[in-house]
Amino acid sequence: MTELLFTNARLIDPEAEAPQPGALLIRGGEIAEVIAGPLEDGAFPGTERLDCGGACLAPGIVDLGVKVSEPGERHKESFRSAGRAAVAGGVTTMVTRPDTSPTIDTPEVLEFVSRRAREDSLARVRPMAALTKGREGREMTEIGFLMDAGAVAFTDGFRVVENTRVYARALTYARALGALVVGHVQEPGLSAAGVATAGKFASLRGLPHVSPMAERMGLDRDIALIEMTGASYHAGQVTTARALPPLERAKANGFDITAGISVHHLTLNEFDVADYRTFFKLTPPLRSEDDRMAAVEAVASGLIDVISSFHTPQDEESKRLPFEVAASGAVGLETLLPASLRLVHGGHLSLNRLFRALSRNPARRLGLPGGRLQAGAPADLVLFDEHAPFVLDRETLHSKSRNTPFDGARLQGKVRGTWVAGERVFG
């Protein structure tokens, strides 16, 4: 049975409040023992050791909402390229989106995805399936069969189920099976055609805009439906200040609700679009600085539970268009950790809190065993140097698509090694 002892590490246990110097033993794909403080002389004789040199050792990131463009658009991203990008960024589990072509809405397509993932991905893949067939918002998918085939959650991606009756039935059915539904919170009428957040910047640039209130209205509707149906619900991205009070009330009322946000909405704002830079075109659009700061505080307080990359590969052709018609989304698997470390370096968040949002909370929400630094947890680990500075060059990314908004950005935090089920897959 393979054993490895990480020594001289800063252990980032999301359950703890602060990093703890110590050692960690993995055996047979699991964490066998966590040792706080210095090792006693002669402990673990004969065990292979890895001196971490004081670097941070944390549970691998569980990235909720990754788009791997298989099936349909393998030229944008395959399981092989996404897996390599993931482990290079310290992501050990990709929770994938079903907004592929065709949509992942039948057990047959899901099995194809699982097989491709098994064959090619260095990181674990836990797929989400569509909530409605073809993500068209008309009929619910075979939620039961899809769960049997391994779907960990149900979502129509960035589409809203507009017909509330259809949505209510799907939520009710999902509740009976204990399935988690991931919603996109936007009022579809108000947000139609909007590519920028309403405000001075969108007005100056002459871009079709959407009021930030559309997000609050979308969330309000979904909260009412949760109250009505009792479903388990995760709001994929809550990015505006005005949506936070209803989220807080819903949690206080004891509804089974959690919320996430993309790292881009925590580290960039609407002005980053500058002269129509389409790599900054995201869904929902980047927000005002006030909204960004409110979201950062909500992550720090735990009101927003999950930070993900919402990795969305797009090729150059679909981005080299006028802003209004260019494709939306950014790749993020490799930049999720260094970008979110900006919040730590900026004093907004502790490392341990950050890994609650990156690893523990998404794992817990999806019922996955990872996200912990405890004996018995899978040996999915990331070793990183939180301070190591670098300038990101998008050509060095492992993704097939390199549509990152962080090209040329100064970042801090380099991954030294990544382990999945005890196997070193990066570094």
């Binding site: 001075k200 100056l204 871009l207 009021s211 080299r320």
Partner: protein
């Protein structure tokens, strides 16, 4: 002479001195035209391509005439009917045209920012003839020249821009230019046609013509697009005319010598009363058209000079 830019993509990057340089050059052309002087053929031997991805008769004719007066070889491309429909991207179209080695490209496009994108991919000078709701710089320059000639100055004027501000690139370029020249700007229109956050740009926003026009030196009306008229943004054409159409009664709130402007084409009886538009004591609408040719001559001439200098520097291996 301080206008050194390679392209004219918008008013936003221009400084006061650049705006004044463009207007001064245009003024010379305007006076020459009035005096019947044939201009020097400063664009002789140069090729000007007009690419209009959105139909326009007036602006395209104005650019064409301006180029021809200065001796350029002018080619019009009706883009609506050609390559874009075949699935060619804007970038490919730009590269194809660039390979034909034009000197000046005049572009109008329905999407904001599209002209900037195209300008990144070509070696010649690009003039923005209107991109989406973003900018229409030559319109703002011709408006500025018209105001300067009528009022004798282009600063410390109270200027009301009225109507569909939200969808208007003319309004954006004008408020940028007139703001840079230190005027007092007032935007007047129904709140549904007012862009959000616009009051943060140092302009006053009014919902009634009576208040907005009070004491104005210049009343600039905007065209209301047909597709915005029915129910979507305003209840009806007639209610709009009643509340926001410029007639003698509303114009009376402005200064006695206030001038009336409109970028055309006008909807008489929707945003402006026909008798006001035709009143030679108040309306400068025909002057605007006349200044349009002069401003476009000036802009193309200056860009051509800058291009020539840039190429000369390039040939000598100086600079980038």
């Amino acid at each position: 002479m301080t206008f050194r830019a390679r392209h004219l993509l918008g008013i936003e990057p221009l400084g006061q001195d650049e705006i004044v340089a463009l207007l001064d050059r245009a003024e010379i052309h305007a006076n020459e035209m009035r005096d019947g002087v044939t201009p020097e053929r400063r664009l002789a031997g140069l090729t000007q391509i007009n690419m209009f991805f959105e139909a326009s008769t007036r602006t395209q004719a104005s650019f064409e005439l301006a180029g021809k007066r200065l001796g350029a070889d002018v080619m019009n491309m009706a883009m609506g009917s050609s390559s874009l429909k075949k699935g060619e991207t804007l970038i490919d179209t730009a590269l194809t045209l660039n390979a034909m080695r034009p000197d000046l490209i005049v572009v109008r496009h329905p999407h904001s920012g599209a002209v900037d994108l195209l300008a990144q991919k070509v070696n010649c000078a690009v003039l923005n003839a209107g991109d989406g709701r973003h900018e229409h710089p030559t319109q703002a320059l011709l408006d500025a020249l018209t105001i300067r000639r009528a009022k004798g100055r282009l600063h410390r004027l109270s200027i009301a821009i009225c109507g569909d501000i939200a969808h208007s690139r003319v309004a954006r370029s004008n408020l940028l230019l007139l703001g840079k020249m230190e005027n007092r700007l007032r935007l007047v229109g129904p709140p549904t046609l007012m862009p959000p956050g616009i009051s943060e740009l140092g302009v006053e926003v009014f919902e009634s013509m009576e208040e907005g026009l009070k004491g104005a030196d210049v009343v600039m009306m905007l065209r209301l697009q047909k597709e915005r008229m029915d129910g979507g943004y305003i209840p009806s054409e007639r209610e709009y005319y009643h509340r926001y159409g410029l007639d003698a009664e509303k114009l009376a709130y402005a200064k006695d010598d206030a001038i009336v402007m409109h970028p055309g084409p006008m909807n008489r009886g929707v945003e402006i009363d026909g008798t006001i538009a035709d009143d030679i004591n108040r309306s400068v609408i025909q002057t605007q058209v006349e200044m349009g040719v002069a401003v476009r001559m000036a802009a193309m001439e200056l860009l051509a000079e800058n291009l020539k200098q840039a190429n000369a520097r390039g040939a000598e291996g100086i600079g980038a």
